[in-house]
């Protein structure tokens, strides 16, 4: 027992000096080649920062059981570190999850744990970062996803039809049949990892043309009841580049036990990841900005101006499907984004539900070119103080953090 304690203490001294904050310093290491979760390089060098991830509640999806389970979902704290070897960047995340949910076997209603890192394509205009929920029109993001699947097959079998038939439809028996099944097994994907580009919820598209270079890993530590996840990608590629040496990055984690998948997840706000020696004050300011305002007045103003369409934690009288639910906006959106959305709702129009699912509530109109115009009017007539108060109030709208 004593040895275990000593070991744990040693661990916390080296790697686990956890710091709070939404600016993460990437640590320079010699090489990231072949890096895996739990590697010594990580233990020795990684500087972990606490990042809060909040339940995604913008939409109400239609899974009865999942809605029940997630009704009062709390936020979690994940720890994020970044490493770089000068050519690539690794985002390493660890988060508590008491249940290890790996998708395996012949099941229809279980879901795997998962992890994703979202990179804003660039941060040239930090006040106009992509919408945190998978980017927005003209503000793309690159998303790297890893899920805990034991094995999964490509639906088209990569064109290999011979190994897609039912084993009983083959001519094989005994040893030959086992050999055939082994061949089939080989064609499964061992790691469920995918890279996507996205310009807004619903538009997320998997990159399948081999134009993306990345690696992921995911690894559960039973003793601690924690997952570790890692994404390594080039410092710069056509999907995401640093701006003045910094990236805007967001972390999402899925908990299979809570029937998480898709938007049912926990998502951080934008976090700045700073390469060694870099300085992008503008971005850091945006991701750390807490608006000083009169929260009590903001609440009043929200009730008067917003609550007829938007639900949040205090006001829940708007129709359920009328507009984005703002219950966790304070945990996910930057102050700049909230301000922008109040003044110019057309800057980012959240696609929301399928237009057919709740036809009485259209969040936007679409013109011939597919351009969306929000049905929310601009609230630019409000004075600066009122807007600041509303933003300050909305920044308080977030779930309690799980202890």
């Amino acid at each position: 027992m004593r040895r275990v304690v000593q070991f744990a203490a040693a661990l916390s001294l080296t790697a686990s000096a956890v710091m709070a904050g939404t600016v993460i310093d990437a640590v320079k290491v010699k090489s990231l080649d072949g890096l895996k979760c739990g590697a010594k390089v990580i233990k020795k060098n990684a500087k972990f920062y606490k990042v809060e991830v909040y339940p995604q509640t913008t939409l109400h999806m239609n899974d009865k059981k999942a809605n029940e389970i997630n009704k009062n979902a709390k936020a979690k704290v994940v720890e994020v570190a970044a490493l770089t070897d000068g050519k690539q960047i690794a985002i390493i995340t660890r988060w508590p999850d008491k249940s290890k949910d790996i998708f395996s076997g012949y099941k229809s209603d279980i879901y795997p744990d998962g992890y994703a890192v979202q990179f804003a394509s660039d941060a040239n205009d930090p006040a106009k970062l992509p919408y945190i929920g998978m980017g927005s029109d003209g503000r793309p993001v690159a998303i790297y996803l890893r899920k805990a699947y034991e094995i999964v097959y490509e639906p088209n079998g990569n064109g290999d039809v011979a190994h897609q038939v039912n084993p009983h439809n083959t001519n094989y028996f005994g040893k030959e049949l086992k050999k055939f099944e082994k061949e089939v097994q080989k064609r499964g994907l061992k790691a469920y990892q995918k890279a996507f580009v996205s310009e807004g919820f619903r538009s997320m598209t998997e990159i399948k043309d081999n134009s993306v270079n990345y690696r992921t890993d995911m690894h559960y530590v039973d003793k601690k009841g924690m997952w570790g996840g890692m994404v390594i990608r080039p410092l710069s590629d056509e999907y995401a580049k640093p701006t003045k040496g910094e990236y805007a990055v967001a972390i999402a984690v899925w908990d299979g036990k809570e029937l998480h998948r898709d938007g049912l997840k926990r998502l951080s706000s934008w976090v700045a990841v700073r390469l060694p020696g870099a300085n992008n004050e503008a971005l850091e300011k945006v991701v750390t900005e807490k608006v000083k305002g009169d929260v009590a007045n903001g609440k009043k103003q929200f009730e008067a101006n917003c609550a007829s369409c938007h639900n949040d934690r205090n006001f829940r009288n708007a129709p359920l499907y009328m507009a984005p639910d703002l219950s966790n906006i304070g945990g996910q959106a930057t102050a700049a984004y909230i301000k922008e959305s109040i003044l110019d709702p057309n800057a980012v129009v959240v696609p929301g539900y399928n237009r057919n699912a709740h036809p009485n509530f259209s969040w936007y109109t679409v013109d011939k070119n597919g351009h969306r115009t929000s049905t929310m009017p601009p609230f630019s007539f409000l004075d600066q103080k009122t807007i600041d108060d509303i933003v300050a109030y909305l920044q308080t709208q977030k779930a309690e953090v799980e202890k």
């Binding site: 239609n62 009865k64 639906p155 699912a357």
Partner: protein
């Protein structure tokens, strides 16, 4: 809404529950690769639990205001039933001379549930008022699909040319909201590829002049296939002209495109002494109304009236259609239309496999130069 809608009519008066359709579908599409448990086509006993278990209570569909309703995703073991395999491998090793021989082919597990677990049980008390009928079900290829509306990835689409509802497996990420959204639970999760799959109305067959496997194999000839805007098609006549074919559970609000001719003239009930109660119906009208909506009363009236007319005059187009004399009249697949669509998309129209069912609104039978069936 698609430009045209291909639809199917099933005449419940003639379904004998033989499952030939089920087998035709299964061997064609679902006997492999994670689809083993799925029945894109199934025939269940009504009243009964159905497939998956109690699907009518699992939510989905739309309310009167048009809002998609939350639903429940069924469990394979408990609700669908795990497809079991047999102990073929051990057959050669079985020692029939041992003291405790266990010969024979048996399932490799003890199943606790499966489709048709309650086959032919029905409701009521034998012999007084027991009853049941068979309800064959495929995807309804709805005009307002619950699955499509539930998908957060826009991975489900309704084909413009014929309204067939399909899953784009490249976009599907296996979230399964579609299963919750479909009130008929006719879209399934494939655990092997982690994506959703469903009945495709055998579109690859239709494009080559073959009716869906379930319809062509039906020994009772209960299934008609054609376009709803093709006034010559028997589907059109049953649905729109005579209004005797009705959608299943129209109250779910998805506007299904599979229509049913309700059971008519069920045998009378017996009283306690075993005597016939004249004028009684074994299948309660409330049950039929629950399944097919209030229009079922008129539909049954029409069928009865047409039958009387046939008895008296020997003439009735409706009775002729329901007798289902010829497959070539029952299936109108409008081949020229599909060929035109393919050409418009810059694709090569597929060669015909069978020329018997090519007729349609845009395909006149005279345009068929010869008759041939490829081997």
């Amino acid at each position: 809404m698609s430009k045209r809608q291909l639809a199917m009519v099933m005449d419940l008066n003639k379904c004998i529950g033989c499952q030939t359709c089920t087998v035709a579908c299964k061997t064609q599409w679902t006997n492999r690769n994670g689809r083993e448990y799925m029945y894109w086509n199934n025939v269940e006993t009504y009243p009964g639990t159905g497939y998956p278990k109690n699907w009518m209570e699992l939510g989905g569909g739309f309310d009167a205001a048009g809002d998609l309703q939350p639903g429940i995703i069924p469990n394979i073991e408990a609700d669908y039933g795990v497809p079991w395999d047999y102990n073929y491998d051990s057959l050669a090793e079985q020692n029939l001379l041992s003291d405790d021989p266990t010969p024979g082919i048996r399932p490799d597990q003890s199943p606790t549930w499966g489709p048709n677990w309650d086959e032919d049980q029905g409701a009521g008390n034998f012999p007084m008022d027991n009853y049941f009928f068979y309800l064959p079900r495929i995807c309804n290829h709805c005009s307002n699909p619950g699955c499509l509306s539930a998908c957060p990835r826009d991975a489900i689409f309704k084909r413009e040319e014929d309204g067939v509802v399909l899953v784009d497996l490249d976009r599907c990420q296996g979230y399964r909201f579609c299963i919750a959204g479909c009130p008929y639970k006719k879209i399934y999760f494939n655990p092997k590829i982690s994506k959703s799959e469903k009945c495709i109305l055998c579109f690859p067959r239709i494009e080559q002049g073959l009716p869906p496997a379930c319809a062509q194999s039906c020994v009772g000839r209960i299934r008609f296939v054609g376009f709803l805007d093709d006034e010559e098609s028997q589907v059109y006549k049953l649905v729109h002209k005579y209004k005797v074919a009705l959608p299943l559970r129209p109250d779910y609000g998805t506007q299904p495109n599979v229509y049913y001719v309700p059971p008519v003239d069920t045998p009378p009930k017996f009283d306690e002494n075993g005597k016939v109660i004249e004028g009684s119906d074994r299948i309660p009208m409330e049950e039929l109304e629950k399944l097919f909506g209030p229009a079922v009363h008129d539909a049954i009236k029409t069928i009865k009236a047409e039958r009387e007319k046939r008895k008296k005059t020997g003439e009735s187009e409706l009775m002729d259609i329901l007798i289902a004399y010829q497959h070539k009249d029952m299936f109108r697949l409008d081949h020229n239309y599909y060929a035109e669509v393919a050409k418009k998309k810059g694709m090569q129209p597929l060669p015909l496999v069978d020329e018997r069912y090519v007729a349609g609104k845009y395909t006149k039978p005279s345009s068929i130069s010869h008759f041939k069936v490829h081997a």
